[in-house]
Amino acid sequence: MAITASTAVLTRPAEPVAIRDVARTFTAGGSSLPVLRDLNLDVPAGEVVGLLGASGSGKSTLLRQVCGLDTPDAGRITIAGTPVRGVDPRCAVAFQESRLLPWRTLAHNISLGLPRGTERAAGAHRVDELLDLVGLAEFRSHRPGQISGGMAQRVALARALARSPGVLLLDEPFGALDALTRLKMQDLLLDVHAAEPTTVLFVTHDVDEALYLADRVVLLGDDGRGPGNTIVSVTPVPGERPRDRADHRLAGLRVQLLDGLGVDTHHS
């Protein structure tokens, strides 16, 4: 499933991310919920990192902090050495729901992601390129209500790429899709990453997905040394992408990671 090489005129080089001593506690109406603590992670430019963890383990919170949609209470996050303050233009996010504007065409929705001040012609060219990249060129004038969930998610991915992100953040991007579409989307993401190699952080519940896509799988959870969650383990995934889904080495890691998740569910 090869994608014809795209002439990405507007792409930004991949950026490294550094997360230092990050902590986050949510407070609502007097009660406080510690979510993250003592979190340290270095993601080199161009790496694909999967964030794995049980529900409520703070995966999404961490992801939102990297792009500036949420702010840590303590610690700091830097992209290419400069700290993230507010919504960072070097990042792009895609969510579990496609969150497309229903009144806009797909092409228009993708153009929402273009960096501010993009020249009109260059922007239009980039949108065409991205529509090609996600295989929806002939649906450019459709509206989100007329397409399937998988297609909508591809548009959301294209919209994120339109921003030419140095860091691409994906919050369970395939979580709401059926199993088959999900596998196709995983391959599409690998193709996209091959065509436009940016740094990718993605959140998932799915161990297999993490092992298939990531260079490293980061497991978030409670390590028993305090309230809230932190990194329990970082697992480098062997082999080059695209990986064989039936690779026996992955099978071993899978058991190990599921074990990590299982222990967590017993604790919480």
């Binding site: 996010v93 009144w103 929402l112 090609d132 295989g135 002939e138 007329q146 193709d191």
Partner: protein, 299 residues
């Protein structure tokens, strides 16, 4: 608002429609980028033209039936003509008024009052609704007060308006504007308040804030509720027009109602009622067309 869904999310259809991710081979017969949406979409059928005219025909059954019943009842002499004149007599009254050159004036002044009052009330309602719907502080500050004013039955303002503005166009149009203001205010405020927070977050994530966020996400998302507010407000405007013209005026359909009652001209009275119904329906239909156009895009 029961717009027929243009989307069929059945699995079979989706798998058929879902194009292969591999894009090296464009589908035969499709020029990339040259395809307009609706023409090729299997999921967006254009409604056959026959269906709409059939709808109009079915919709006409009850009014025509009522007309026939009216004619039959009056022809049979069930009611005195002063209680219920025949449709023919009402038609005759209309023709007579047209020949005397009076009907046009009544219609014109009433329509003008409604349009001006509605315009003023709707614009004010839009602005106030936007402020209260978008800013939590404004909501806390202004919401209760506007809510209290809204709770006053709007006709209760009539004596005060007459006291302040005397009897005249100003007080009439103000009353209509009051009637139009509240439906627009309420729907716009709640429409903006309930814009999908997910979409707003997308806007933030893609660097939109302030006026750009408003223009690209919040306002468009609230368009359906703005339109339904406008529709309600227009209906209210006609209601308040009649109230204003019944109380004090020398022209207009409300005046025609009152004047006919005083002179025992039930035929003219019925004529005024029918005309009010027709005009109200007509202006509502205009907004309805705009609404359908927009919802086709928005839904």
């Amino acid at each position: 608002m029961s717009t027929p869904t243009t989307t069929d999310r059945s699995d079979d259809l989706l798998t058929q429609q879902d194009p292969p991710i591999d894009t090296t081979l464009p589908a035969a017969g499709v020029t990339p980028g040259g395809v307009t949406g609706a023409a090729t979409t299997p999921t967006a059928p254009s409604r056959p033209r026959g269906l709409r005219s059939r709808r109009t025909l079915v919709g006409a059954i009850v009014p025509l039936g009522l007309l026939a019943l009216w004619q039959a009842v009056t022809a049979a002499g069930v009611f005195l003509p002063v209680q219920l004149p025949s449709p023919v007599a009402v038609w005759g009254a209309g023709v007579e008024l047209v020949e005397r050159g009076e009907l046009g004036g009544h219609l014109a002044i009433s329509t003008q009052r409604v349009l001006i009052g509605f315009g003023i009330g709707a614009v004010l309602g839009l602005v106030m609704g936007a402020v209260v719907g978008l800013s939590r502080q404004a909501d806390v500050l202004l919401g209760p007060t506007v809510g209290a004013f809204r709770a006053v039955p709007s006709l209760a303002w009539v004596p005060l308006l007459i006291l302040w503005m005397q009897i005249g166009e100003t007080s009439r149009i103000t009353l209509i504007a009051i009637g139009a203001f509240f439906p627009v205010y309420t729907t716009v405020a709640s429409g903006l308040r309930h814009v999908d927070q997910h979409l707003v977050e997308v806007g933030h994530a893609y660097g939109l804030r302030g006026p750009r966020l408003l223009a690209r996400i919040q306002l468009p998302a609230a368009v359906p509720s703005v339109i339904s507010g406008m529709r309600l407000a227009l209906a209210q405007s006609w209601l308040f027009l009649v109230a204003a013209e019944l109380i004090a005026s020398s022209q207009g359909l409300g005046f025609l109602l009152l004047d006919s009652q005083n002179n025992g001209r039930t035929d003219r009275l019925l004529l005024a009622i029918v005309l009010l119904g027709l005009l109200g329906k007509l202006t509502d239909a205009v907004i309805g067309v705009v609404e359908r156009r927009l919802l086709r895009v928005w839904a």
